[in-house]
């Protein structure tokens, strides 16, 4: 199961666990979702998703509500039987197993702690259901509560715990059964923003220590960015892109991904010419820019340019160049060391993000330029959905 860490008092003691519990893989288990399709009546919630989660990795399922991410998670958990496709742990199908026999631990959005039991009784629940000897249950409950730093709250009922504390207990309960796979269903949705980052770091630390493979469902791109090793961006029951968070941000696979992960300025244009590996694109706002793209475009093809706020820069209204276009600065917000400009170029609204030097500029006519170093994503205009 998890990587054995001898030096930690916080680890669940597994030196004397039965052979069935002994680590099968040195660093966690592999999870595969293979061609999963789930339908609710006429609506297809998950439409042929194939995803792999490497041992010890956190994969985030990111997408707007109704994109199928929760349905996919519940399919892995065993609460939903897919119409087609398989779920495999370490290459072995688990589709025929009930939820309790899949080696899957779940932290629910509502935490789903048993309100009539103390924190310790909650954590003990799964171990008792598995018929572990009493002494082992007591020892493991202590170890699991210690791992989430809740050992001082063992006797408290969930109601007497804060949201963050409840979440830690829920995590301890899920980890106490030593799951092969940890499923986190929007675990931070019910928490204050200020608390989230601390808990995200903490959960990631604990997940690393246990070496448990995890799937995180979230609609919050920041959460996916900070927690996940890789993220799968979903829309309409399909996966649009699976990559490391930075790759998803820098090279979005679709305009939807570009808009959902991070802020995206959408500029329409037409390919004017091909210059070696680069394209000269005539933007509708009135500029001509040169861009590299891994995709192939025909000359004359309509394209959609998705530029990040930091890809664009403000220029003086009088500094007319072919690769900049006229616009009007509506407002500039100083955010610490940065400036966020709200700009309109005709009907197109743009957001710019620049390092701040001195006071923010006054509203009025300006020009907007694409930075020469910027690598904005370029899509065929038809991809725009």
């Amino acid at each position: 199961m998890a990587r054995p860490l001898q030096n930690s008092a916080h680890m669940l003691d597994r030196t004397d666990t039965p052979a069935a519990l002994a680590p099968a893989a040195p660093a966690g288990h592999r999870l595969d979702m293979d061609g999963i399709r789930v339908r609710y009546g006429q609506a297809t919630a998950v439409d042929g998703v194939t995803l792999s989660v490497e041992p010890g990795e956190i994969l985030a399922l990111l997408g707007p509500s109704g994109c199928g991410k929760t349905t996919l998670l519940r399919t892995v958990a065993g609460f939903i039987r897919p119409e087609a496709g398989r779920v495999l742990v370490d290459g072995a199908p688990i589709g025929h197993l009930p939820p309790g026999k899949r080696g899957v631990g779940i932290v629910f959005q509502s935490y789903a702690l048993f309100p009539h039991m103390s924190a310790a009784e909650n954590v003990a629940y799964g171990l008792e259901a598995r018929g572990r000897p009493k002494a082992e249950v007591i020892r493991r409950v202590e170890a699991a509560l210690a791992a989430v730093r809740m050992e001082g709250f063992a006797a408290r009922r969930p109601r007497a715990l804060s949201g963050g504390q409840q979440q830690r207990v829920a995590l301890a309960r899920a980890l106490a059964i030593e799951p092969a796979i940890l499923l986190l269903d929007e675990p931070f949705a019910a928490l204050d923003r200020a608390l989230r980052l601390d808990l995200q770091l903490e959960i990631k630390r604990i997940q690393r220590r246990f070496g448990v493979t995890a799937v995180l469902v979230t609609h919050d791109q920041d959460e996916a960015m900070s927690m996940a090793d890789r993220m799968a961006v979903m829309r309409g029951g399909r996966v649009e892109q699976v990559d490391a968070p930075a790759t998803v941000y820098d090279s979005p696979a679709t305009p939807f991904v570009a808009g959902f992960v991070g802020t995206s300025n959408r500029l329409h244009g037409r390919v004017e010419a091909r210059e070696g590996a680069d394209y000269r694109v005539r933007l509708d706002v009135g500029a001509s820019v040169i861009l590299a793209s891994p995709r192939g475009f025909a000359v004359g093809e309509r394209v959609l340019l998705c530029a990040r706020p930091e890809h664009l820069a403000l220029r003086d209204a009088t500094a007319e160049t072919p690769e900049s276009w006229p616009a009007r600065l509506r407002i500039s917000l100083p955010l610490g060391p940065a400036l966020v400009h709200d700009v309109e170029a005709g009907a197109t609204e743009l957001k710019l993000h620049e390092a701040r030097h001195g006071q923010p500029p006054a509203p009025g006519p300006v020009r907007v330029a694409l930075l020469p170093t910027a690598r904005p994503a370029l899509f065929p205009a038809g991809d725009d959905a």
Binding site: F114, R157, I177
Partner: protein, 272 residues
């Protein structure tokens, strides 16, 4: 408390008057029966000419009131069995209904609640005809079944309210932690719906205890029920022990209510 605007005062007075009337109508008869049970006269009469505990002494006399005691014993036993049976049925039904959004669930709920609006006398007659068609002589078991049908809706209501508040994620959580459905029921569901189950059982017990129409048709000489026996005594002799028995019933019901409130309140605190 917030003060009423002068314009609202007539309305407030009207509501107060209605409340007082309702209280008088509800509590008045009970007080009259209680007072009558202490009367020195030989027959049921109000107001009592003087007060005595004589009728209570007679009521508790094991020889002179043997038949009343037997009927009371029967009634308590039937009420207890009815409470257990109807609460068990209603708990199963309420949990299934709460979990399902399907149309049949609404239909089933309607069917379970139907005895509430069905006239008891009609149900009693129907039950008697049904059981005799099945060639079943009146028996203790049939009596309990009849009572349970009438009492189940009360339990269904209270258990249903508790079950509706049950977070489905708790059941999924329990299942994913490896608990069998039975373990989930015993360790998670039952403790959390206990307030509803307990108050449902209490209501079923009380409704069985003073049920006349079903007992009228389904009881026999062996299963003489207290309300039927009291009614018989009223008809033949205006025996004051009827008032004394009513006094005892009112006192018992009141005590049970207090007890239940304490217990259910306690259970609710434990559950939360």
């Amino acid at each position: 408390m917030h003060r009423l605007a002068p314009a609202d005062r007539p309305l407030a007075l009207l509501i107060l008057a209605l409340a007082v009337i309702a209280l008088l109508v509800l509590v008045g008869p009970v007080l009259i029966v209680l007072l009558t049970s202490f009367t020195t006269s030989q027959a049921l009469r109000f107001p009592p000419p003087g007060l005595t505990l004589r009728w209570y002494a007679e009521l508790f006399d094991p020889v002179r009131s043997a038949q009343i005691h037997k009927a009371a014993g029967n009634s308590l036993l039937v009420a207890f069995c009815t409470a257990v049976l109807s609460t068990a049925m209603a708990t199963g039904a309420a949990l299934a209904i709460a979990r399902s959004r399907a149309g049949w669930a609404r239909l089933a709920e309607g069917a379970f609640l139907a005895p509430l609006v069905l006239p008891g006398i009609a149900f009693g007659l129907a039950a008697l005809m049904f059981f005799s068609w099945l060639r079943q002589p009146p028996s203790f078991a049939l009596l309990v079944m009849g009572h349970a049908m009438i009492a189940a809706p009360f339990a269904l209501r209270t258990v249903g309210a508790s079950a509706a508040g049950l977070d489905p994620a708790l059941l999924e959580s329990s299942a994913s932690l490896g608990a069998s459905p039975w373990r989930t029921f015993r360790r998670v569901v039952l403790p959390l719906i206990m307030p509803g189950v307990a108050s449902g059982g209490f209501l079923a017990f009380i409704s069985s205890l003073d049920n006349v129409p079903v007992s009228l048709f389904l009881s026999s000489a062996e299963t003489d029920m207290l309300p039927i026996r009291l009614w018989g005594m009223m008809e033949t002799s205006l025996d004051v022990r009827v008032a004394a028995a009513s006094g005892v019933l009112v006192a018992v019901a009141f005590l049970l209510l207090l007890l239940m409130d304490r217990a259910v309140g306690l259970v609710r605190r434990m559950a939360g």
